[in-house]
């Protein structure tokens, strides 16, 4: 197998950083679209994990790569529904800032 220099843990470090950047972004950003982008970061970090594990540790099967293809497809569906709802929110509230889109309080 051509492990071509880059060891596995380099990929894992990148994906871990991406995951936590995504979580941090989701928790701190005020814009609904940016929050959606943060979620895409999380899902892509998962994809990197799957593909890297597949290539380096279990090159006989393709489960990891299949899984990441499905994640990409489902993420697109999710984004479609989310953006449809966000457009509706923009029509109703004239803003997509999280702080303004809040009628319900504890």
């Amino acid at each position: 197998m051509s492990h071509a220099g880059i060891p596995l843990h380099y990929f894992l470090i990148v994906s871990t950083i991406m995951f936590f950047v995504g979580v941090y972004g989701f928790l701190t950003r005020k814009n609904l679209i940016t929050m959606l982008m943060s979620i895409e970061l999380i899902l892509n970090s998962v994809n990197i994990n799957f593909v890297a594990f597949n290539r380096y540790l279990y090159p006989d099967g393709l489960h990891g790569q299949f899984f990441s293809i499905f994640i990409i497809a489902v993420a697109a569906c999710e984004a479609a529904v989310a953006i449809a709802i966000i457009i509706n929110i923009y029509r109703r509230f004239r803003t997509i800032s999280v702080e303004d889109v809040s009628e319900m309080k504890f």
Partner: protein, 475 residues
Amino acid sequence: MNLHSFLLMRHELMLTGIALLILFIEIFFNEKRNHAIIPICISLFFINTVIGFLLPSHSGTLFGGMYKTGELQILMKNVLNVGVLIVLIQSVKWLKSVENIGKTNEFFIILFSALIGMNFMISSGDFLMFYLGLELATIPMAALAAYERSKNKSAEAGVKLILSAALSSGIMLYGVSMIYGMTGSIYFDDISTAFTGSYGLNALALIFFFAGMAFKISLVPFHLWTADVYEGAPINITSFLSVISKGAAVFILSIILFNVFRSVIVMWQDLIYITAAITMTVGNLFAIRQTNIKRFLAFSSIAQAGFILLGMISGNQIGMTAIIYFVLIYIFSNLGAFGVATAISNATGKETIPEYNGLYKTNPKLSLTMMLSLFSLAGIPPVAGFFGKFFLFTAAASQGFYWLVFIAVVNATISLYYYLLVVKAMFINHNDEPIAYFKSDFYTRLGLLICLVGMFVIGFASNIYEFIFHVVSKI
């Protein structure tokens, strides 16, 4: 793979057929008068439910082990079918209202796709099928929560639901990717033999996976979306979310924990111990200060999820039986409470507890139904809720978790307090302008009647419990 083995998926196939059929039927109805589609959809689903019960049970796997079915899975699907049937009956009045003209069939198609997703999720044999089922169950739910396009709150609930659901799926998938890295497989059977030993990465993978699922069941550190989504969504959708989707997530989580992570039971028992204790306490304490009936029921359902964890912690057949039995009872009692709230909300638009003051004087039947449902949720003996809680406590005690059972008993007492606050409002508090008497339509009364009958019959007919135990013990 021949046709006969394809029929193993008959629950999903029937639902898919019904959803497609509704799509075609809609063409033949005038957009202004498509109320007539409602009885057709409900009778189709009723037939589906009955067939699900009547057909002989079967077991087997499909798609190389991705799809797995057996008596346990079929029982869970049937339980969910019953719940959805009641939800559909209760939502007729709301679907007939003016603002929903022209999009009635969308409601049914979206709801059925969510149910198909739950069925696939319950029947999954690997993490890929599980993920696809989960997403097929949650994405339509967000569309349903944002169903009332003209209401600000509904849109807000929809966006909150889909963003938190997507985040939780991401966290869960990160755990699954670690599991794949540790074991080299995504099949449940392979993982259950390979996923042993409690070293760091295993524990991390389990925690990520459990955190993602905890979002779906709204356990306490991850419950913050629940109350807002429940309040903002249309009340019929809220009842679907709080009962059916929570029940499906509980089912699959217990299947995965009991089978896939069997060899690391000590690790997830600790996890569940802590979450159960916090979930029950926080859910109950927050429920006390709610005035909106939907938020109140949201926090009560968080607390109920904490009680369900008591059955999960045992990790044995008694626990699994108690979970299914409790979810079945929970469907009837929670839908009873939601049904009354729905009827009042549809007739008068009133949704806060102080507005319920003096309800007994004007609407005695509704008040009695609400009281019995709340008693069942609290676990007072004549109604079924008592037996459900009793078996959950037994399951936890059978593994020696006495302190957790003690915490649960204290919490059951606290929950009795706030359930009785609503009963007190209806029966004792005076109100100069109580909600005027109104006559519910046929479907509302039918839905409430089914809930009432269910609450009494399941409690007293012990062969239901024995049947569930019989099915579970065959696994």
